[in-house]
């Protein structure tokens, strides 16, 4: 590797037929991890600070609301939220199954598991919408007190993340159905999975901080 000139110029001539499992350049980046995956990790790192700041805000205002206004302890239905949290957690399992399916080249199961994941996520969102309306009915809204402000913004922000994730999953189901998401694109699912698992993990933190810690 001394002479620069010696190496063949651009066109990687026929011999080096691209491998069927081509991980989109995963082998040729300096880190050995594809650009897309590093980008997703960097983005998730950024997201940590986003949720970190929101969770800190919630904690700062914990117990600071006027006692005459609705309080967390009066509103929370912990068994109900536990169930919807469990639903969201299970969606991580189905996401892993989807990844495993595409790695085996099983497009049909890929679509089944992606759809299941999206449905579980949608159930979680439906639960959240129900919870929000229940709280509003009981007199808590965004401007009632600082608890209302910080609760709705934090959980709502997370809900938006889950919703975007659902859109992403359904887009992939469509792509797969149109034959554009073959085995060689397994990493796409893996990267989408990173996002999905991240959103789940964040929910575990939020659930603990908001609902479980008195």
């Amino acid at each position: 590797m001394t002479t620069v000139e010696a190496t063949a110029p651009a066109p990687p001539a026929p011999p080096q037929a691209p491998e069927p499992h081509g991980d989109h350049g995963a082998h040729v980046t300096n880190t050995g991890i594809s650009n897309e995956k590093v980008a997703m990790w960097a983005f998730l790192g950024s997201e940590c600070l986003l949720f970190g700041a929101l969770i800190s805000t919630y904690l700062l205002y914990k117990g600071k609301s006027d006692p005459d206004t609705p309080q967390p302890s009066e509103l929370f239905d912990i068994p109900y939220t536990s169930v919807s949290s469990f639903v969201l957690l299970m969606s991580s399992v189905t996401m892993v199954l989807a990844l495993s399916a595409i790695q085996r080249g099983d497009g049909k199961r890929l679509r089944i598991w992606l759809t299941t994941t999206a449905l579980l996520g949608a159930s979680f969102i439906a639960g959240q919408i129900y919870e929000f309306t229940a709280f509003v009915r009981e007199g808590l809204n965004l401007s009632t007190n600082v608890f209302g402000s910080s609760f709705f913004v934090l959980t709502g922000f997370h809900g938006v993340h889950v919703t975007l994730g659902i859109v992403m999953l359904l887009s992939m189901v469509t792509l797969s159905a149109r034959g554009k998401l073959g085995q060689e694109r397994a990493e796409t699912i893996e990267i989408a999975g990173l996002y999905w698992h991240f959103v789940d993990v964040v929910w575990i933190v939020i659930f603990t901080v908001i609902y479980l810690i008195p």
């Binding site: 590797m1 620069v4 000139e5 190496t7 063949a8 110029p9 651009a10 066109p11 990687p12 026929p14 080096q16 691209p18 989109h24 350049g25 082998h27 040729v28 980046t29 300096n30 880190t31 991890i33 594809s34 650009n35 897309e36 590093v38 980008a39 997703m40 960097a42 983005f43 790192g45 950024s46 997201e47 600070l49 986003l50 700041a53 929101l54 805000t57 700062l60 205002y61 006027d66 965004l142 401007s143 007190n145 600082v146 209302g148 402000s149 913004v153 993340h161 975007l164 994730g165 859109v167 992403m168 887009s171 554009k180 998401l181 073959g182 060689e184 990493e187 796409t188 990267i191 996002y195």
Partner: protein
């Protein structure tokens, strides 16, 4: 696949492509192609031109402020106009000038310095630029829509909440900064991935040019600091638009929450602004002292140390808020400590030029000016770490003097030096040295005349952010000096513009390596071919280009290698024609265009417009995700396409930030593949 200026090639539409909404743009030359370009060099130039334009605007705002303050009881501006102008001046210089100028240099130089053909995600790069431009225009449109933001660049809530700022001024600030935050975050993801993943074979981390290192650290800071201000802006937006109580003390909201969030972002932001300029200076000094950078690894690690410690000093912006002795002491100590790695850098720069054979070209003048002025700013910064002193100086002109010495005396000196240094590389001609030296000395004197007296004014107790002052406090003389100085700076900027215009016609044509440079950008022609490198370079050491040109004699003095031509050799046409780059695209611009549409809709509560904007953004991202990065068809010179639209990993993930949508930077890796697969371990043995 690009139509690269190739000679006759009947542009045959091979197969009728699936009827696109917009036919894929193909041209990479001409005025229209600037709107669709994904070439990191052109995007870098766009960043530079845009940021410089905003620099002129921010400068005009500053001149108006100085005119108002030139005499006691000034009547040039009303108090309201003064508030708007100082707010826009600060916001412009931070978000629309120094950050994007650093992005301009990083965009243009980082891939070339790494030996790559583009950034990791070329279309995302274009998106970042357009979001930045449109965010800036959105912010400035406020002047015509009822008044510009008027709450200071820090926008302290609750002063900026709806109760105290009922107009739309602050809304423009809130949404404008959110758009700019999206622009810089996506840019940061892109540049971080580029530096980590796109290095040429042999370019271990500790062989990366120091500018790349400093930019990488700054981009990591962007990545982690931006979300914090995003949350702050988000909360303020909810307070203003939807009646939440985050900053409403009447309902238990805590005004300090804003300050904490803002400065947790704001202090790393200071390093986001200064680190790239430090990198520029660290590139210039070795070339014009003809010595390697003194203590390269130490420079790298002190940069990393600054990056980490920058997160632990934000409270020194809040010493006067009454946080109690424990917090104040801890943050005082941390602030003093961060001066250590900064001091290490200053000594390394001095070590670099110490006993070098110094050539005082214009870039070198700026770099040496940087060292001196930044040191003054750094020292006045340390005085703020001393909290009793800080309390005395809070909100006085002493603070204004301090941060202008680091941001103007530091960042802008460095970046201006970078203009003169890389201008021949980027545009193929030199800026006039003669005008350049005049410009430097005017810049230097004007700067010190303007901001030096502010130290004295501050110590005398002149508060900042006041639109006027009465006579008789002893402020008259130095204010007049400062105003005079500001016009000297303006004249210097004018000279720079004249220099550019004149040199474009009369300037000396640049060779590939006009300064006898050290890093890879000098190993290619000026201006570079659109593909940068015909063949991926193989890197054997730090300052690889220098070592290709020079060897050492027994005394360690550089001796030219006889077998090296000394100047870059242009690529043969076969090589040039075989390069395969990502195609231009409309969609980054379209997706970015939806952002201000959404923002206007939010401000005027026209929900249909918000939805329209969202549809534009999402539609743009989908279209972008579904189009291949490089258009197949048209050329036959590249052998079979890789299976599928290559490198489009995740092309179909159309939401949560487009990061994963975009293809890999395709070409360089392909060429490099045979080498790099085995070549070098990633983390390097340093030199």
């Amino acid at each position: 696949m690009t139509t690269l200026e190739l000679p006759p090639k009947p542009a045959l539409p091979v197969t009728p492509l699936p009827p696109p909404v917009l036919r894929r743009p193909r041209s990479i030359t001409g005025a229209a192609s600037w709107f669709t370009t994904v070439d990191h060099k052109r995007i870098g130039i766009l960043y530079g031109v845009t940021a410089f334009t905003f620099f002129v605007l921010g400068g005009i705002e500053a001149l108006l402020l100085r005119l108002q303050l030139a005499r006691p009881n000034g009547t040039v501006l009303s108090a309201e106009a003064y508030n708007q102008l100082f707010t826009m001046h600060g916001t412009t210089m931070v978000f629309l000038v120094i950050m994007p100028l650093s992005a301009a240099f990083a965009n243009y130089l980082m891939p070339i310095m790494l030996g790559a053909r583009d950034v990791a995600f070329p279309r995302l790069n274009a998106f970042s630029y357009w979001a930045f431009l449109l965010g800036g225009l959105f912010l400035y449109s406020s002047f015509f829509l009822g008044g510009a933001p008027n709450g200071g660049w820090f926008g302290y809530a609750p002063n900026t909440s709806i109760t105290f700022s009922p107009g739309h001024n602050i809304d423009f600030w809130v949404f404008g900064l959110q758009i700019l935050g999206i622009a810089s975050t996506t840019g940061a993801v892109n540049l971080v991935v580029t530096a980590l993943n796109m290095r040429a074979p042999g370019m271990s981390l500790l062989r990366m040019p120091i500018f790349v290192w400093m930019s990488l650290i700054a981009q990591f800071l962007v990545l982690f600091a931006m979300p914090v201000i995003t949350v702050a802006l988000f909360l303020l937006m909810f307070d203003r638009q939807f009646g939440s109580n985050f900053f409403n003390p009447a309902m238990g909201g805590d005004p300090l929450l804003w300050q904490h969030l803002f400065w947790i972002f704001g202090h790393p932001e200071v390093y986001i602004l200064i680190l790239p300029a430090m990198g520029v200076v660290s590139e210039i000094l070795p070339v014009f002292a003809r010595k390697p950078l003194f203590g390269y690894p130490v420079m790298v690690f002190s940069g990393i140390a600054i990056g980490f410690m920058g997160w632990g000093v934000w409270v020194h912006h809040m010493f006067s808020t009454g946080l109690g002795p424990a917090a104040v002491s801890a943050f005082s100590v941390a602030t003093m400590f961060i001066a250590v790695p900064t001091g290490v850098k200053i000594f390394n720069w001095i070590g670099t030029i110490w006993r070098g054979s110094i050539k005082l070209s214009t870039p070198m003048l700026y770099a040496m000016g940087f060292i001196a002025m930044f040191t003054i700013g750094g020292l006045s910064g340390v005085t703020h770490a001393v909290s009793p002193h800080d309390r005395q100086q809070t909100d006085t002109y002493y603070v204004v003097a301090h941060f202008h010495y680091v941001l103007f005396g530091g960042a802008l000196f460095g970046l201006m030096g970078g203009f003169y240094y890389w201008w021949p590389k980027v545009f193929g001609y030199h800026l006039s040295e003669k005008i350049g030296k005049w410009q430097f000395w005017l810049w230097f004197m004007g700067f010190n005349l303007t901001f030096g007296p502010m130290h004295i004014l501050g110590l005398q107790g002149m508060p900042r952010r006041i639109d006027t002052y009465p006579a008789g406090y002893g402020f008259e003389f130095w204010n007049l000096v400062a105003t005079a100085g500001s016009f000297v700076i303006a004249f210097s900027v004018l000279l720079f513009i004249i220099n550019v215009a004149r040199s474009k016609k009369h300037g000396e044509r640049a060779v590939g390596d006009p300064w006898d440079g050290r890093t890879l950008e000098w190993s290619i022609t000026s201006p570079p071919a659109h593909y940068n490198f015909g063949e991926s370079p193989v890197v054997h050491s730090l300052d690889d280009w220098w070592h290709r040109k020079y060897t050492e004699d027994e005394q360690g003095r550089p001796v030219r290698r006889e077998d090296h031509p000394g100047q870059p050799v242009p690529d043969s046409p076969e090589v040039a024609n075989s390069v395969h780059l990502p195609s231009p695209s409309y969609f980054p611009l379209i997706a970015a265009f939806g952002l201000p549409v959404m923002a206007y809709g939010m401000i005027y509560r026209a929900w249909a417009v918000v939805i329209l904007g969202a549809i534009i953004v999402i539609g743009g991202i989908y279209a972008w995700g579904l189009e291949p990065s490089a258009e197949p068809g048209g050329h036959d010179d590249h052998g079979p396409e890789l299976p599928g639209p290559d490198g489009d990993g995740g092309a179909d993930v159309p939401d949560d930030g487009p990061q994963e949508l975009v293809p890999a930077g395709v070409a360089p890796l392909e060429t490099a593949a045979p080498e790099s697969a085995s070549a070098e371990p990633v983390t390097g043995e340093g030199p």
